[in-house]
Amino acid sequence: MERLVELPFGKSVEIAYKSIRVRFYRSMITTLSLVLAVAFLCYVQAGNTIAEGVLISGDKSAFTAVMKAGYDVAPGEMSIGGSAKQRWIVVLSLLVCVVGIVNAQLMAVTERFREIGTMKCLGALDRFILRLFILEAAIQGVIGSTIGAFVGAFFALVSSLFVFGTLAFAALPIAKLALIVLAATGVGCLLSMIGVIFPAVKAARMEPVEAMRIEE
């Protein structure tokens, strides 16, 4: 005899998507921190890469321009890596972002205790609930990171224009930039999923009794 309950993947994506759409403003605020953090990450990386492009272009004023822009390069060097301080600040901003996501998702779980308990009464397994929360975080992660990455890259381009003038476009490393945008998006998605794990596990372990009224 068939004794199983199931939640088809497509259906769980549908439910996750609808949850986000209905709680649009709440989702936007959660995603905003992700957008900003990913934008910052991408901005820093893209800025470095564009400056590197200027350096490599071999233009006579290139070296001085890059030094003036604040990048720490020795004469003859052809690559620009991030300074330790720069890396620190980026990592810190990403950490703050993750903490923000964990907080927001914990709040969401607390708010939705009835919904979770009810679903369990309807027969949902623990891992369905887990899946729903992770999918929601993944969708928010993808959207937020993509926007953030493009915003960051855009601002890097704009500020490079101001700093280097047209030099910036002379040897624009397009391929590398595209890779950076992609990587930043990936990092953002990862952060979103990491942030949701603890709250999602908490939600999945919730007892269905919690959906019932608490008798005072």
Partner: protein
């Protein structure tokens, strides 16, 4: 003549809760048998253990000692998958606070248990619409719970409870958040469903209006069964109720 079988049976169920250092014994040995196809009300004052007993019977909680049998299956022996199956296919739940999923429309709420049961898209939509029609909400299938009144939400909840044609419906204070007339409507609807579909309905309630339609009333007081009254006894002891 159809053989009556005990759809729910408890033997000496005791439930203790730990409150800080103290242990509170909420259920002090409850043994009862509920036969299939009847409308049972569990009544009792607040704090009597009504909800706790209800949770036991509904497979939502395990007793500290004693056994609960649903369809002659000891629920303490079931694993998470089997419990989920039980809640999905055998039991339908109705709550005081309606507990509809706010992001889904009425139809989606009704078809959600069907999705868990593995029913396909078209069939579930068809059955969902039919159920909504039975409770009188066919035109509101596209509305979200926030766009429905309390009585309408509870009717959607009733339709949802019937989604997988369960053998048992557990209603926890179904009329608690409804006004007099709407409450009566819901009670009438539940009775109608019980008769049409031969579902066992067990409701935990304060509401005296339920007495009218119940086949059997179990009075709980202080964690023990006070008395069990059958329908004909009720009429005599209380007289007519509007």
């Amino acid at each position: 003549m159809t053989e009556l079988h005990a759809i729910i049976r408890t033997t000496d169920v005791v439930k203790k809760f730990k409150l800080g250092n103290q242990e509170l014994e909420v259920l002090k040995g409850i043994s009862l048998t509920i036969t299939a196809g009847r409308y049972i009300s569990i009544m009792g004052p607040s704090g009597s253990g009504k909800s706790t007993l209800f949770n036991m019977i509904g497979g939502l909680d395990k007793p500290t000692s004693g056994k609960v049998f649903i369809d002659e299956v000891d629920i303490a022996q079931l694993d998470a998958y089997e419990l989920a199956w039980l809640r999905c296919r055998k039991i339908g739940y109705i709550f005081q606070t309606f507990n509809l999923i706010p992001v889904m429309t009425a139809l989606e709420n009704v078809t959600l248990p069907m999705t868990f049961a593995g029913t396909g898209g078209d069939e579930s939509v068809e059955r969902g619409m039919e159920l909504l029609k039975t409770v009188g909400l066919a035109e509101r299938y596209n509305h979200k719970p926030s766009e429905l009144s309390g009585g309408q939400q509870q009717r959607v909840a009733v339709a949802r409870a019937l989604a997988n044609s369960p053998a048992i419906i557990l209603a926890d204070e179904p009329t608690g958040n409804l006004d007099l007339t709407t409450g009566e409507e819901i009670i009438r609807l539940l009775k109608q469903m019980s008769e049409e579909r031969n579902v066992t309905i067990i409701s935990a309630t304060h509401d005296i209006k339920m007495l009218n339609v119940s086949d059997e009333v179990i009075w709980i007081r202080d964690g023990r069964i006070d008395k069990i009254e059958q329908r004909h006894e009720l009429n005599i002891s209380i007289g007519t109720i509007e």
